[in-house]
Amino acid sequence: MQLSARHQEYWSKNLRITAFLLGIWFFVTFVLVYFARDITFNFFGWPFSFWVAAQGALVVYCLIIWYYAHYMNKLDIEYGVSEGEE
């Protein structure tokens, strides 16, 4: 089946959101950890870098996945590529 321009657009939007969320994932995981020794201000009792690795990053991961599911499920309908209901 030949892909229409709409299909191409859907895919490039998917790639864009994937790259954007991957950027957040990379920042939280690797950038913040790399500078862990330097960002040690007190955050409700935790040194900030400890809190990020123990709690903060996990919350961000959950949000990334939730947002992706939400965004893509809407995009499917918008571009008419969603699956029909059973």
Partner: protein, 702 residues
């Protein structure tokens, strides 16, 4: 009960909600009943037996109720597991004995360093969600090698996939069965080997009868038990120390107190004295190693002299017997003596070290050492994340949901249910540390709580306290603690009744059994579906394929139990190695297969081989146990240093395997012929949930 084709989707979900609400209520009622019986004087051993019997029978019951011989039911639970329930099942599938029992202990022992596991084992789900789950669901076959075989046209990539899937799943399943044996033995007092086979029955009844269908619904049940068992004692401990029942939100202040106490313990003269004694013992062992025969003779003479002195001075009979026992226990030959001295050197040197600062990232003696620590932390996080996104038993779970939409939502639920436990583990480690540092340390030996004696009699490697400097007071350096005890002993540390300890053990058992179920199924399916049906006998009937899978399941389970019963050394290393293998073998081939149409058969095959090969090579040349196994001689520090690249520890060998895998796939694919039109169409098919508005659920009939 667990669904059939005639039911509508909402009826099915309502039915499930009802079943699992009743089930959770039943479990809570069961625990309360046991608590009442305990107060009325039921012996502890009986509580252990009740938990073991009740949970294993329950899992077996679900297995019997969902028995099936239909291929779609057996391999992918009929593809109608709702997103939330698949999330719970994935949570149980994912969280193994290592997560449940080992994680908090690792955090207790290593502080910030242990957070690599927390980050790696949750962040990997971002990659599952963004790169794999929805596309694999759209592809909609039965196994991960299925995708490799279809996308890369042929049996070669499929067979490499089968090999890699078995390699990482088998080492992993051995560790789970080992954990099952350990927990059963603790819970009931049965022998370790008996424990293994008791647990094995629980695993087999379930997966043997109903395949993925039975495993899914059992995993949901196991998740509910394991999460209740994990959270309850931590909440209790938090209320005890902070007055707030949300430990994850308030343990920052406890961490502050722990850090303040650490500074004090680092300088405390009594602590320094004890660490000095261990340092002296380690130095003595180093001296002995310089001339082993002379040291042996000196040890023997000293021991004989002591016996004679005691006898001459009419010492107490018990003292004389102890001295004589020490004399007979001396190593008999030079090799044994060398091993004993080496062990004494390492263990004493480790205990001479000052305590780790819990909140300090990448500790080290100078900047260079700190940089190496940081590099290895990040490399480990990388390998664990990519490995998480490549383990076949996890990816396989996303074949069981009804649609692409639900696959995306299901990853979200999976991480949420895993998050509940991983978010709590760092809190548990800090609360336990606070208890040890402030309540235990500086207690006179005569007043130590009763649980210390109980646990040190179970296994001295888990917990031992010795008054090294003979001042009658417990110093931190006098406690030797094994990571596994933290979770198992938390109820007793918090002063909870024994029934909670029993429940925690049952939770650990649920974690180990559920992971073992998923792994065994992965191995059996790789062999029966990919090797037998797709390669050896493509005309086999459905019933025959399921029969072959069931027989293989039995064989693999027995083989894994046999290996686990040998108590293989370095089992933790093998588990972590599985992540590096999975990462190097699967991740590049799967993601490029979806995101790059140009990737072809030869690129993928050679890329997988190269990634796996270099990972394996690096481990063999740098990891002590594997080095000895393959080279026949022990690794020396000089060899290890020469073989190490960029100071990376063997556990993170995937750091080299993954990029090489990507590079080889890209280069070889560009040098060879582009895949044909049908493959391009397959990739397009996978990228769009639906090109014609129809649901992909029809592929259940494949």
């Amino acid at each position: 009960m667990f669904g059939n084709e005639k039911q509508s989707k909402s009826e099915f979900i309502q039915g499930l909600n009802k079943v699992y609400t009743w089930y959770t209520g039943g479990f809570v009622a069961f625990v309360i009943l046991l608590a009442i019986l305990e107060q009325m004087g039921m012996p502890k051993a009986w509580i252990g037996y009740s938990f073991l019997a009740a949970t294993v029978l329950l899992y077996a019951g679900i297995g019997v109720m969902s028995r099936t011989n239909d291929a779609a039911e057996y391999y992918v639970a009929g593809r109608r597991v709702p997103a939330m329930y698949n999330g719970m099942a994935t949570g149980a599938d994912w969280m193994s004995a290592a997560s449940f029992i080992g994680m908090a202990g690792t955090l207790y022992l290593t502080g910030y360093g242990g957070l690599a596991f927390i980050l790696g084992w949750t962040g990997g789900y971002c990659l599952v969600a963004l790169f794999l789950a929805p596309y694999l669901r759209k592809f909609g076959q039965f196994t991960i090698p299925d995708f490799l075989g279809a996308r890369y046209e042929g049996n070669l990539p499929r067979l490499i996939g089968v090999f890699a899937a078995i390699l990482c799943s088998f080492t992993y399943v051995v560790a789970q069965i080992y954990g099952v044996g350990l927990i059963t033995a603790r819970l009931t007092g049965l022998a370790f080997e008996v424990g293994i086979f008791a647990g094995l029955i629980g695993i087999l009844v379930c997966s043997f009868l109903g395949g993925m269908r039975a495993v899914t619904w059992t995993q949901v049940a196991q998740y509910i038990i394991l999460i209740i068992a994990y959270l309850l004692p931590v909440i209790w401990l938090s209320v005890k120390h902070t007055g707030v029942p949300i430990p994850q939100a308030v343990y920052g202040y406890t961490l502050e107190k722990v850090s303040a106490k650490e500074e004090q313990l680092l300088k405390d003269p009594k602590e320094l004295e004890v660490r000095g004694i261990f340092k002296a013992r380690s130095d003595a062992a180093v001296e002995k190693l310089k001339d082993v025969p002379a040291a042996m003779a000196a040890d023997k003479a000293a021991a004989e002299k002591k016996v004679e002195e005691l006898k001459a001075s009419n010492g107490r009979l018990a003292d004389i017997q102890a001295a004589e026992a020490a004399l007979t226990k001396l190593p008999k030959d030079e090799a044994a003596a060398r091993a004993a001295y080496t062990a004494a050197r390492t263990s004493n040197a480790a205990r001479a070290n000052p305590p780790v600062r819990h909140a300090e990232p990448f500790p080290g003696k100078d900047d260079a050492a700190r940089d190496i620590a940081r590099k290895n932390f990040m490399a480990l996080v990388f390998c664990l994340m990519i490995g998480t996104a490549a383990l076949p038993h996890i990816l396989m779970r996303y074949y069981t949901v009804p649609s692409v939409r639900e696959a995306r939502e299901s990853v979200s639920w999976s991480l949420f249910f895993i998050f509940l436990l991983y978010f709590t583990a760092p809190a548990l480690a800090v609360l336990a540390k606070f208890e040890v540092y402030t309540v235990l340390v500086n207690t006179p030996f005569a007043n130590l709580p009763e649980w210390i004696a109980r646990w040190s009699s179970v296994d001295a490697s888990l917990l031992s306290v010795v008054d090294v400097n003979k001042d009658g007071i417990l110093q931190l350096a006098e406690i030797s603690i094994g990571g596994d005890i933290i979770v198992l002993a938390t109820p007793e540390i918090g002063g909870l009744p024994y029934v909670v300890s029993g429940m925690v053990a049952a939770g650990g058992l649920a974690a180990a059994l559920s992971t073992a179920d998923g792994l065994l199924l992965t191995i059996a399916n790789a062999l029966s579906h990919d090797l037998y049906y797709k390669v050896l006998d493509p005309n086999a009937s459905t019933a025959r394929r399921v029969l072959v899978s069931k027989s293989l399941l039995l064989v693999v389970a027995l083989a894994a139990a046999y290996v686990a019963a040998q108590k293989p050394a370095d089992i933790l290393f093998l588990v972590s190695a599985a992540f590096s293998f999975a990462a190097a073998a699967f991740f590049p081939a799967l993601t490029l297969g979806i995101f790059w149409k140009r990737a072809n058969k030869w690129g993928a095959s050679l890329g997988m081989i190269a990634g796996l090969g270099i990972t394996f090579y690096y481990m063999v040349t740098t990891q002590p146990w594997l080095y000895k196994l393959t080279h026949g001689a022990a690794i020396t520090p000089e060899i290890a240093k020469a073989n190490t690249w960029w100071d990376i520890a063997p556990i993170s060998a995937g750091l080299f395997g993954v990029p090489l895998g990507f590079a080889v796939i890209i280069i070889v694919s560009l040098l060879t012929k582009a895949p044909g039109r049908d493959i391009q169409e397959l990739v397009e098919h996978v990228r769009y949930p639906s090109l014609d508005g129809k649901t992909s659920a029809g592929s259940a009939a494949h």
